[in-house]
Amino acid sequence: MKIVTICGVGIGSSGILKVNAERVLAKLDIEADVVAADLASVQSVADDAQVILTSAEFVDAIGPTFADVIVIVNHFDLTELTEKLERALG
């Protein structure tokens, strides 16, 4: 499974999402490849992704995708991340 995290540069908030998503997935015992990317590369990076994690600001710009786009409000809230990932993957 592939999960892509998206932000403007592919460093800050998407990096936090990647790190914390990997922690949550490990705890849920789900194997996945989590990749942080910037908005400009979303179409190429995410074309085989099941899930995109991002902030509300990027949803429109991500455009059409087969992936489940999940909006995260508090990037440091592992409970929010766990609930939303479980819902998308379960």
């Binding site: 403007g8 540069v9 460093i11 800050g12």
Partner: protein, 189 residues
């Protein structure tokens, strides 16, 4: 610990910045003062937010401001700015912001340990409030788990050699009393 050190120059407490642009500019100036970025980095950080919106407000009360690794970045660096009065970034859930963490990274590839450590710090949800209430630079370093780096006057050449100076993270008295830089007003509103 992959977080870069936080010298006094990189910490501004109780800034009177009246809006998000000035608050981000204060973080940029702190990154410049500590030798991590050139003066143009502030505008780059502001431009990211102009372009993409308030997504940098990644948790209630906290903005993680940064721009691309480019020629405005001198070395990996962090800055922490707390605001005397919270400002709005226009975020639907996480406003108002009391703490700006400014981030400069040299390359996209080499920063993941640093980002993981930022997550380590702030996954403890009490840390944002603790930073907002901090009154001394040493308190900020203790909350972030970093040291002050090599001496006080680390000027623009910093070289990026984060040698083991700060391993303990206890921020014990290395820098003397007058370290509460820029805390011009305390107690808010």
């Amino acid at each position: 610990m992959a977080l870069p050190p936080l010298p006094d120059e990189a910490i501004v407490l109780g800034s009177l910045a009246p809006d998000w642009r000035s608050a981000v500019a204060v973080a940029g100036a702190a990154l410049t003062a500590s030798g991590a970025a050139r003066p143009g980095y502030s505008d780059e950080m502001i431009r990211m937010i102009d372009e993409h919106g308030p997504y940098v407000v990644i948790a209630p009360g906290l903005a993680l401001a940064h721009a691309r690794p480019d020629d405005q970045v001198i070395s990996d660096g962090l800055a922490v700015v707390t605001l005397a009065s919270p400002v709005s970034f226009g975020h639907p859930h996480n406003d108002p912001v009391r703490v700006i963490v400014g981030l400069a990274v040299e390359s996209v590839g080499g920063h993941l340990d640093l980002i993981a450590d930022i997550a380590n710090v702030f996954n403890d949800q009490s840390r944002i409030g603790a930073l907002a209430d901090a009154t001394r630079a040493d308190d900020v370093r203790a909350i972030m788990g970093v040291g002050a780096g090599s001496g006080s006057g680390s000027s623009a050449s910093a070289g990026g050699s984060a040698s083991g100076s700060s391993a303990g993270g206890s921020a014990s008295g290395s820098s003397a009393g007058g370290s509460a830089s820029g805390s011009s007003s305390e107690g808010g509103s």
